[in-house]
Symmetry: none
Subunit: 152 residues, 4 copies
Amino acid sequence: MINTKDEVIIRNILAADKQSWENLWQQYLHFYRADITPEITEKTFVRLCQGDSLSGLVAVNHDGQVLGLTHIVYHASTWSEKDYCYISDLFVDKSARGKNVAEKLFNAAYQQADSRGASKVYWMTQEFNSSARSLYDKIGQRTSFVIYQRKE
Amino acid sequence: MINTKDEVIIRNILAADKQSWENLWQQYLHFYRADITPEITEKTFVRLCQGDSLSGLVAVNHDGQVLGLTHIVYHASTWSEKDYCYISDLFVDKSARGKNVAEKLFNAAYQQADSRGASKVYWMTQEFNSSARSLYDKIGQRTSFVIYQRKE
Amino acid sequence: MINTKDEVIIRNILAADKQSWENLWQQYLHFYRADITPEITEKTFVRLCQGDSLSGLVAVNHDGQVLGLTHIVYHASTWSEKDYCYISDLFVDKSARGKNVAEKLFNAAYQQADSRGASKVYWMTQEFNSSARSLYDKIGQRTSFVIYQRKE
Amino acid sequence: MINTKDEVIIRNILAADKQSWENLWQQYLHFYRADITPEITEKTFVRLCQGDSLSGLVAVNHDGQVLGLTHIVYHASTWSEKDYCYISDLFVDKSARGKNVAEKLFNAAYQQADSRGASKVYWMTQEFNSSARSLYDKIGQRTSFVIYQRKE
């Protein structure tokens, strides 16, 4: 838990965050033009709160409003006995940008990954997402890897 | 299980493949200049044979020699109720190249992913790996995603 | 012809669209900093209306105002007996963005390509055009190909 | 027609080149892992010899053996009254590499494009094809354009 001068707190997602979280989640999905059914959103939220294979962190203000979210997947690796930590989703509300909220979410994810003993933390972004990459070049390092997928 | 005119069979990895598999695995790690301890290799092999969070497929010839390997990780996703299938490792012995062994391994991975109900199959490669990407452009599709990781 | 709840209709370009079309065309050329003479614009418009080697589709509202345009080139290929369909130009008026007009234009182009028996549909974009690529990653797939040209 | 000290001549493809041409064509298709039916190859060859929408140039040695090929597509453009010249295929036999055969084929294509009044000459290559791009950076200029296609 990190308390900052802007009073943004990063903490694990709670069942009570549902409405506030979903508002951001839908904005995030809209950005990626993703079609996710209400059923998947419902199940994802439950799994994020359970904090097992999926883990959710939120940035909240003093009113408890969710200003940012990040979702983390822990999965096995052939290169390590310990799990890898994959930061699957990250989004900050427009009203809260420019206040290092994304950076705080990353730091909290790093701490969680350390506490769980993850041997690696990684994430993806579209190569043309200049505003995201500007941050990622600071708080992480670009690798030479690109992603392929099965034809849809 | 696919039996071809070249007598290359794709099947799940077995404990008896240990020595033959490790020969390819070490070549693959050498290609990526990766330092993996014997303990990790040992544990990874056990987990690949168990076929739970990790799954291993091998291409073997009529003598049972491992000519190719692929390792698969199934993991949770926030965008889907079903797991994603991540093809973590792929390697074909130099002596067996040009015989579509990699393509057969991919097809077997696709089949396994379908049988497990995975909602997506994806993998990574270095953007400059021209021989790998030549194949991947045929059997898959390049996405716009690049990978970032926590600074080491 | 697609009639939606927003009353945006996609149809072939008509001679009567000239003024409304040219307004968008000039904005599109301005975006690419392209210098096209009035003579070329005139001849291109005529050819788009003829619908032979060039084909034009427009998105119009209930007043008949052109809100979006796409221009298509059909050309021979050495890899196929059938023509390839190249989507040459695409532009949506700022006032009409966020209403899936571009997506509707693409769907209409796909339908036209199918009706003409084209064996492939492809298009280009600058690698840094993030808003375009965000859409293209959804309705198409990025290939590994880049474009070279003769030195000017 | 260009006669060089290595006695490599660049000329239009002729019906008599069929067998020698097809040998190279199949190697080229193999490089791209492309599956082209014999019927398409047959029809493509006929159209290349006709020199209408498709045009073929070959590099031949003093024995008339085809050492290199390039295929050109002329197509309409919305940005120009004149056609664009798209260099669709280019391949040089391994035995003839290092002798500027590809460069000569490009120069002949440029001349043909000029004689036909084409307003642009362009071509594509996979971003990871380092040996091709090394040449293209010399005889042409890279643009910022990448290619998308309809999902297959």
